[in-house]
């Protein structure tokens, strides 16, 4: 479970995140939706310990990030906005590196990597150097690397960004699988369809604040809109930065 409690973060005079609170529960997919520049990535960066909030706190499985960031990192699997791989290493070596950094021994690391390589359908590319990988192959490798330590909580920053239709479908199926395994899945997106199709809960962020936090059905009911798209526009207050 991931809890954000009153998060604030400013860069100079720009308030990127201005009081964000929500809860992402285990066995659910929580979608963080908002236009570009709404503060999604900054919020996620605070959740996965890369940035310190100016105010507010983050709890992962009840552990305060400010108190024990290392313990939180063991419980988090993160696909950041930056997905750089080591291009002179093979996909498997990329995954192994993170397994070792997570403190896994060689045998459990290999077993876990094999399982992920099979689950992500990337057996054919596992032993190729990642230089020249397609966007989809890169994202798969980055996800396998992020989940190699079998974390209970998964944070994905725009996981389908840049993927083609087939890869996007595969990614959504994989996210449902993570949910079915009982994990807490939190992902950000600016694509409404995706969020509507996947999420148990939608947190809408605009201008650094939470403007809605509900299930897709409740969101429709709340706004009185007939489609999710209209509902989003209603809560955000403008159509700026949203993609259908």
């Amino acid at each position: 479970m991931i809890e954000a409690l009153g998060l604030h973060k400013a860069f100079g005079v720009v308030k990127a995140v201005d009081g964000v609170s929500f809860v992402a529960r285990d066995g659910e997919i929580t979608g963080l939706l908002g236009p570009n520049g709404a503060g999604k990535t900054t919020t996620l960066r605070m959740l996965y310990t890369l940035m310190k909030p100016d105010a507010g706190s983050v709890l992962v499985d009840g552990i305060d990030v400010a108190r024990d960031a290392t313990a939180v990192r063991r419980r988090l699997g993160v696909l950041p906005d930056a997905r750089g791989l080591y291009k002179r290493l093979t996909a498997r070596e990329n995954i192994d590196y993170f397994a070792q950094l997570q403190g896994l021994d060689a045998a459990s690391g290999r077993a876990r990597a094999d399982a992920l390589i099979a689950a992500l359908d990337m057996t054919d590319i596992a032993d190729r150097r990642t230089e020249g990988f397609s966007q989809g192959q890169r994202v798969k490798t980055a996800i396998a690397r992020a989940l190699v330590h079998d974390p209970g909580n998964v944070i994905l920053d725009e996981p389908t960004n840049g993927l083609d239709v087939m890869a996007t479908r595969a990614m959504r199926a994989f996210m449902r699988r993570l949910k079915d395994e009982g994990r807490c899945v939190l992902f950000s997106s600016h694509i409404m369809q995706e969020v509507g199709a996947l999420c148990d809960r939608i947190v809408v962020i605009a201008r650094g604040r939470v403007v809605a936090d509900a299930s897709p059905a409740a969101l429709l009911a709340e706004t009185g809109a007939t489609s999710l798209e209209d509902a989003f526009v209603a809560v955000i207050g403008s159509e700026e930065g949203l993609a259908a």
Binding site: L50, R73, R74, A82, L89, L101, D105
Partner: protein, 396 residues
């Protein structure tokens, strides 16, 4: 979980080494360019110097002469000194300036008249004092002219019944205290620079790749999400950078020892002390310096916003070790103990003295080691502070 998990620092170290060993350019720089720099440049210089010295001493000296016909006796005397008389160029001043000729001897028309009247007969030596290469030739010709002049003077005195020694109330005897090694001082002052430069070249690729490169490729953010403190990650990266630089330096010392053996240094009367003693003590003082350089390079690379910017910073950084080298070769001051405490300068002096076979005391070696280590730790603390900062990881 079963089995033993590797320590994070070691994990980072091994990954950086493996990844960079797969980069052909990095390997080439570490194993070839860095190590070969010192021996190759030294070999070139020594061979150049040897060839020049041998050239000057034994070979006939060609001298273009204007008006050779006015002083046939003088010309004959010069020829006996293994000087070959050549036709003069039409514009002697220009020929000397353009380095077409080292020097030109000009004998004026009235030479014979002055000679017969017993007046000082003047000849002109046209040369360019700023051409160091020509100094040997000028010296030889001047010597030949003066000895001819003295011989003739002595004969004239004898003809008048005087002793030639009455013309020499004071006689100076030279007792030069320089040794072959000290005479080639500039040469020796330059050499340590190339060892230090080897360390710079050996570590450069990794310092950039592990910091600015990793950030530019956007892999620093995922890396930092692992449950490993950033200082551990930094230490692993520094260890990998130092390992490459150290390999470079070690290979450089080995290559230099081998090249030093086959170089004709004895023809210059120089003896090089480049045995195991030299190699061992050089490695000892270079060890903290390699870590200092690796840390400095990483610090500079961490400041850079991109790979290219990092390359620019690190190239500029390479000029830093040239400063003590230039100071020491321009102002050859007496070696004071405090100089061992200055990183770069300490190594510079130590290597120079070791190579010359001069003594370096244990205290001086220790001072050099401890002070450079302290400087390295200071720079490490600064780099670690940058690493802890939020901005480092954010690539976009």
């Amino acid at each position: 979980m079963t089995g033993i998990a590797l320590k994070p620092m070691l994990v980072v170290f091994l990954k950086e080494v493996r990844e960079n060993l797969r980069d052909r350019r990095t390997v080439l720089n570490t194993l070839l360019t860095g190590p070969l720099l010192a021996p190759v440049i030294f070999a070139l210089i020594i061979n150049g110097v040897v060839a020049r010295e041998l050239d000057k001493a034994d070979k006939p000296l060609p001298v273009p002469v204007i008006g050779a016909e006015y002083a046939p006796n003088l010309i004959a005397a010069l020829k006996q000194q293994n000087i070959v008389i050549k036709d003069a160029p039409s514009d002697p001043e220009r020929a000397v300036r353009e380095m077409d000729a080292d020097l030109v001897l000009s004998i004026p028309k009235n030479f014979a008249d002055s000679w017969r009247r017993g007046e000082p007969a003047q000849v002109e030596l046209i040369y360019d004092a700023s051409q160091r290469d020509a100094q040997g030739s000028v010296g030889r010709l001047r010597g030949a002219l003066e000895s001819y002049s003295q011989r003739t003077g002595a004969l004239r005195l004898l003809a008048r019944g005087l002793s030639p020694t009455s013309m020499q109330p004071v006689v100076v005897a030279d007792r030069d205290q320089s040794t072959a090694q000290t005479r080639s001082g500039t040469l020796f002052a330059m050499l340590p620079y190339f060892f230090i430069l080897g360390a710079f070249i050996g570590g450069m690729a990794l310092a950039i790749d592990t910091t600015a490169g990793e950030r530019e490729r956007q892999s620093l953010e995922p890396l930092f999400v692992n449950p490993v403190s950033r200082s551990r990650i930094l230490l692993g990266k520094l260890a990998a950078t130092s390992a490459f630089a150290l390999t470079s330096v070690l290979l450089g010392i080995i290559a230099f020892s081998l090249v030093g053996r086959v170089l004709p240094t004895e023809k210059l009367g120089m003896t090089l002390e480049i045995g195991p003693h030299f190699a061992l003590l050089t490695m000892f003082v270079m060890l903290p310096l390699v870590f200092l350089i690796a840390t400095l390079q990483t610090l500079a690379a961490a400041f850079a916003k991109s790979f290219r910017e990092a390359q620019t910073y690190l190239s500029l950084l390479m000029f830093v070790p040239a400063v003590p080298t230039m100071l020491l070769s321009l102002f050859p001051v007496k070696t004071e103990t405090w100089m061992y405490a200055v990183p770069l300068m300490g190594q510079q002096i130590t290597i120079t003295r070791l190579m010359r076979g001069d003594a370096v005391t244990a205290e001086q070696l220790g001072l050099c080691f401890v002070c450079t280590t302290t400087a390295a730790l200071l720079v490490y603390a600064m780099t670690a502070a940058i690493y802890r900062g939020e901005r480092l990881a954010i690539s976009t």
